[in-house]
Structures are given as structure tokens and as C-alpha cells.
Amino acid sequence: MNKNPKLFIAVCTLPAVILTIIFMIIPMFNAIYLSFTDSTALSVGTNSKFVFLDNYKYMFRDKYFLQALANTLKLLLVVPPITIFFSLLSASILTQSRLREKAFYRTVYFFPSIISLTLVGIIWSFVFNPTKGILNHLLELVGLENLKHAWLGESKTALACIGVALVWQAAGYYMVMHIAGIDGISRDVYEAAEIDGATAAQKLMRITMPMLKNTIGITYVLSLSGTINLSFTLSNVMTAGGPNGASSVLLQYMYQQGMNNANFGYAMAIAMFTLFMAVIISAISRKLTMGNE
């Protein structure tokens, strides 16, 4: 074995490579092919017609697709920065403060990311419920009745509600990553800053954030892809994409066309577009966060 470590490494990685090829690479190429056909969910390419770019051309005339695209972009613009901000803030507080319940808070904040996403959707549906929801009741309690809404049923608020649930669900997960990053920063740096009279905010802005730049870059990209993926479930559970498509997102529309409407080819075209968009956005954000390297 010592004689040929390369062979040993190759043999060890082979199962993973084979699995990746079978379950990731081949389906992806299959999806690319299907996106050029009029396949239904049944034929899956066997007796479907090759329609070349028709699906892609139709996409940009399809008002529901454009609406879903706009909604997804809005979420991508707002959700990852807020998620990363809250996760950094809580990571910073939990590592820097002398709270005795640190471990407890860490568990509580992390908890939302390990429960089923469908459950997260249901929990937030209860929060936003127009008659029984805690949010409207709290507003009533503090005398702000005029701010009460049918949160999930109004086009101005539905998407924002999904955004809130997304942030709540993901912030704890990235917090743990950031805590791990902060633990890697030498205590001496913080102590030196404290001696120089730095405040907690200054330590966060001047020490933690610059030194965690790499980690933040990665968590930001993860958050982008998480937002694209997870918004599908939350939108399905909380609003069913409504009202009138105001909270529909790309993957949800893809699912609807593929499964409910039996337009598998078109759904794959939407999936390919989403993949392409996600890769571009991730590349741009990586470039921006790693700009100085």
C-alpha cells in the first residue's frame, strides 16, 4: 500500500465519484437535454419532441415566470445580508460576552435550522395568522391595530413574511459557523483591543469581520443557495405562492409546471435557468468578498 499511495487514494475516492456521477452529473445532463424537449413527467424524454429553445423563449414571455424570478431576486437581495448580519451579531455576542447561559442560547438559536422546513412554514403561518396569530395580537396589545394585516394574504406583505421565516431558520446555522471562525481568532487580539478601549461594536467591525472575511464569504454564498432552495418549501407551505403569484419563487414555479402541469421539459428549462443564475450570483459574491486576495 505504501508503494502506491495514489492508487489507494483513487480506490478510496471511487465510490464517491461513482455516486456523484450517477446521482448528480448524469441527472444534470439529462435535465439539460430535457429542457430542450416538450417532455411530460411521464415520458421523460423517451417519446418527447425536441423543441430546441422554445421553452427558454417562452419563459421570458411567461408573466408567472417573470413574477417568480422577480420575487426570487428580491429575496436574494435582502435575505442573505440580513441572515449573515444576525448570525454574525449573535456569534459575536455569544463569544465575546460573559453570559453564563451561552450554551443555552447557542442551542436555542441553532434549533430552527434542524427542524423540518415544512414545520418552520407551519409555525410561521400560525404567527402570521390574521385572527389567531401572535403578531396581530401583539400589535393589538400595544395599540397598533391599524398595522394589523392578513400578512400572508396581501401582496405587499406575503413575500416579506417568507423572508422573515427564511432569516429565522438560517441565522442560527450560520451563527455556529461564525462562532467556529471567531474561536480561531487569537484571544490576544481582542484583549489588546480591550486594553486600547475598543467597544464591542468596534471589535465586531474592526476585528471580527475583517478576520472572518473568508468564512463570511462562504456563508454568504451558502445563504444565497439556501435562499433559492428553501424559499420553495416556505412559499409552498405558507402562501402557496399567493396572493396571485406575489410570493411565488422560481423553484416553486418549476415544480408546479413539472409536476402539477406535466410540463417536464419547461420545468427543466426553468431549473437550468435557476442553476445558471445561482452560479453567476455566487461567482459574483465570491469575487466581491475575496476581492483583495
Partner: protein
């Protein structure tokens, strides 16, 4: 040594998985000979009975059942009864709330079940795909043939109008590819006790409806609520109201996606009435943000007089809290004139047999058996609902709750007619989701973000796209 154990273990795993495959193949390769039934039970004489002295042929029937709100008790019972009355027949049943996701890969792999109970409008889209792909077996012969009891033609036992509708004959050529399962009226559900106590009358016209809304307001109730984030339930209001305002002709033009069928004064008068529910404060506050169970609960707690729904609401909401003395009752949709016909939209679930079924004849026999009185009674007994047969309601009477029996009584009221959804099948290249195009704008209309006219225009635009797709597909 360890290596030896590992090799043995791997061999065992391989053998087990191969055994699994061969078992599958065996199930898939059951013979396709015609069904041979034996004397069966004493009361029912199957039509194609054979001499019991002949050796009984072993046959398997693979059925895939969508498990909805009615549970699985009926299916377990009816499968048992079928096996008992058909010697040598073994039914392999797969029943699940996500049956479409289970059978889709099987169908793609060429291993379709023999019989499917799932709907063309199901979330999984499997039946819709099969319609688009011409993958269903024509079953007109089952309905042209004798019924299970041998007392007449099966089609004469089925409720009028269903077999001719697009729900059963999806290609518009009167050939039957889908069989009707259960059916029931859908309308305005209200609390009969409350109406009796207050001396209120069920509204006949839209004016009566809104006048009742004023009385309800005075009593601290809203007039109406619906299933909020699932506006599709309002089909139970929209189609009957359009049929009333413009006759069946207006409806059939819409079902064919004809130009101007939706954006015209007749339809607009209905859309404006629906808009008025939201604009004039007749809608229960917060409705647009609720899901189906939430809005149904609110109605049952006395927050609103009416909600659109079907007979299944009683079992669906069996454990929900309700105001004292709550009793389910159903009213037909309001009309424009006092002497107008009131229409009721029928629900219709479906059975089908894939073209690729391994044992289609046995599947047809099973289908015929399902319409037998025993099966219809079993369904009522286990599910509290009624098969789409003419005698279904009476056969099931002893097993139905009073409320459900009375709700079915809506058909007995004078001037009430039932309608079935009859949309032409879309061409396979069409990407329009018709129900979304028609019903999704409702929330915006109720919120005052869209007018009835804009709603009609957006539906017309979708219909135009469908016509263009049809033309492109050469239809």
C-alpha cells in the same frame, strides 16, 4: 479472515437485492389472460362466470390508490371482498397520500399498475400526464357492458352527464378513459341551527345574499369566507353563478377557451358580485391570509355565515371546534333572478387503467365490481360518502350522517341542476395553468388590488395563449 467475512456479507447483500429485483419482475410479468371468476359470493353473480370444476388460474392485480380524506378502510374492505368473490385472484394494493410520486417512476420504467385511483387535477400531475401522453386505456367497453349484478348496462347506472363530460372522456370524442369514483354536491355550507334559530332564509338571489350579509353584520358575523390562500375552492361559486347568469352555453364556451367567453357582460356581472363581497365588507376579515382548515374553523365557530365547500367538510373538520348546535347544511349558489335555475358544481374523483397495464381485463373486472351495490355500501359505511351511481345515495342512506344525506338532498330542490367541470384537454405543448389563471386573481380582487374587469382581461389573455398553443399543435 475478515476479508472472507466481508466477501460473504457482500455476496449476501447482492443476492438479497437480486431477489428483490426478481420478485419485482415476477409481479410485473403476471399473465395477461382474461379474468376467470368462480361462483363468488351468493348474492352477486359475476357476468363472466366460469365452471368451478375448471382449475382456478392464479392472477395478480396491482392497484395504486390515492389515500385522501376518506382513509384506507374502504379500500382494504373492497379488496378483501373482491379477492373472496374472485377465486385465485390476489390484489396487490399500494395506497398512499403521495401515490403519484410512487407510481410515476414505475410507469416510466414500464411497470405501470393495472388500476389507478387518482384524479386528473391531483397535485402530482400523473393522470394529467397520462392524458397528455395518451397513456390511458379506453374503457368505454366496461360501461357499454353489463353491470356487475347482470341487471343492465353499467353506463345506465352512472349518474347522468358524468360519462360524457371531459372528466371521463377527456379528448372530446365521447370515448371513456376515466371512470367516475365518488361524486357530491359543492355549494354554500352554513350552520342550519343558526339559520333556524334566527329565522333566516337561505338566499335565492344575489340581492337576498347581500341583504343577509347586512343582517349578519348586525349580529357580529361576516357573510362569507373562503379557503384564502387556496382560492381554487371558489370554483364552487364561480361556475354555478356563470351558468345561472348565462346558461350552460356561456359555460361551455369558457370550457372551450373561446375568445370573449370570459370578458363579457354576463361573466362580468358575476365577477362584480364576487368583487362586491370583498369591497363592501361582506368577507370575513383576514380570509385572504388563511388556509382551508383555518377558514373552515372560523366559519364553524360562527364568524361567518357561509363558506364554499363540498360534502367532505364534515369528515375533514370532524375534530374542529364549533359553535353550539352546529349542523352542516348546504345551499345552492345565488341566482340573478328569483325564477332562475340554481346550479350546483359536482365534485368527481376518477379511476383509470393505464394502457401499459399488465392485466387490463382483470382491472376492468375490478372496476365493474367497484360499482356493485356491496362496494357502494362499503364505501358509504367506511367513508361516509357516495359513489357516482344513480342509486348511490339511497344504497348508502343507512350509513350516511343526517347532515351528509341532507347535503346530497340539494339535488331534490326545485330548479336545481348539477354541472360538472368540462374543460377541454390542453395540448401537450401548453404551459398555461388554467385554474391558476382563473382563480389566483381572486385574492387580489378581494383585497381591492384588482378590478373585476382586469380579472376578466387576464383570463382572456390566458385563453388566447391556449388557443395559440392549440393552433401550433395543429388541433
Amino acid at each position: 479472515m475478515k476479508r472472507k467475512y466481508l466477501a460473504v456479507l457482500l455476496t449476501v447483500v447482492m443476492l438479497i437485492s437480486m431477489a428483490g429485483c426478481s420478485n419485482n419482475n415476477k409481479a410485473a410479468n403476471t399473465d395477461t389472460d382474461t379474468v376467470k371468476t368462480t361462483e363468488g359470493n351468493a348474492t352477486q353473480a359475476p357476468v363472466d362466470q366460469t365452471d368451478s370444476s375448471e382449475p382456478v388460474e392464479e392472477q395478480e392485480l396491482n392497484i395504486a390508490i390515492f389515500q385522501g380524506g376518506y382513509g384506507d378502510e374502504y379500500w382494504n374492505a373492497v379488496v378483501k371482498l373482491f379477492e373472496e368473490s374472485h377465486e385465485g385472484v390476489k390484489v396487490n394494493m399500494t395506497i398512499s397520500p403521495t401515490i403519484g410520486d410512487i407510481i410515476r417512476p414505475q410507469i416510466v420504467a414500464g411497470n405501470a399498475p393495472d388500476f389507478i385511483s387518482d384524479n386528473d387535477n391531483a397535485q402530482d400531475g400523473v393522470i394529467l400526464s397520462m392524458i397528455k401522453e395518451n397513456a390511458l386505456l379506453e374503457i368505454s367497453d366496461v360501461f357499454e357492458g353489463q353491470n356487475y349484478a347482470g341487471t343492465g348496462t353499467l353506463k345506465d347506472d352512472i349518474k347522468d352527464g358524468l360519462l360524457q363530460s371531459a372528466k371521463c372522456a377527456p379528448y372530446g370524442d365521447s370515448k371513456i378513459y376515466l371512470a367516475p369514483f365518488n361524486t357530491g354536491p359543492q355549494g354554500l355550507i352554513y350552520n342550519k341551527t343558526y339559520f333556524d334559530q334566527k329565522g333566516l332564509q337561505v338566499p335565492k338571489t344575489w340581492d337576498d345574499f347581500f341583504a343577509l350579509g347586512e343582517k349578519a353584520k348586525a349580529d357580529g358575523r361576516a357573510l362569507f369566507t373562503y379557503q384564502g390562500i387556496y382560492p381554487g375552492y371558489l370554483e364552487e361559486m364561480l361556475w354555478p353563478a356563470i351558468a345561472n347568469a348565462g346558461g350552460m352555453e356561456a359555460l361551455s364556451k369558457i370550457f372551450k377557451y373561446e375568445e370573449g367567453s370570459f370578458n363579457n357582460e354576463t361573466v362580468l356581472s358575476v365577477l362584480r358580485n364576487m368583487q362586491k363581497i370583498g369591497a363592501d365588507g361582506y368577507l370575513l376579515e383576514g380570509t385572504v391570509g388563511m388556509n382551508h382548515t383555518e377558514s373552515q374553523s372560523e366559519m364553524m365557530l360562527g364568524k361567518s355565515l357561509f363558506i364554499t365547500n363540498g360534502t367532505w367538510m364534515e369528515s375533514e373538520m370532524a375534530d374542529a371546534p364549533r359553535e353550539d348546535g352546529f349542523e352542516f347544511a348546504m345551499a345552492a349558489m345565488p341566482t340573478t333572478a328569483t325564477d332562475g335555475t340554481q346550479y350546483v358544481l359536482d365534485s368527481c374523483e376518477q379511476f383509470s387503467i393505464p394502457k401499459a397495464a399488465k392485466n387490463p381485463e382483470l382491472a376492468k373486472e375490478f372496476l365493474r365490481f367497484l360499482y356493485s351495490d356491496e362496494s357502494v355500501a362499503l364505501f358509504a359505511q367506511n367513508s361516509g360518502s357516495v359513489y357516482a351511481t344513480k342509486t348511490g345515495r339511497e344504497v348508502s342512506k343507512q350509513y350516511l350522517t343526517n347532515a351528509i344525506y341532507n347535503m346530497y338532498g340539494i339535488y331534490d330542490q326545485p330548479n336545481v341542476k348539477s354541472i360538472t367541470l368540462n374543460f377541454e384537454t390542453l395540448p401537450s405543448n401548453c404551459k398555461v395553468v388554467v385554474s391558476d389563471e382563473i382563480f389566483n386573481p381572486i385574492t387580489s380582487v378581494m383585497n381591492g388590488e384588482m378590478t373585476a374587469e382586469q380579472w376578466a382581461e387576464s383570463v382572456e389573455a390566458a385563453f388566447a395563449q391556449i388557443r395559440a398553443d392549440k393552433a401550433a399543435a395543429g388541433e
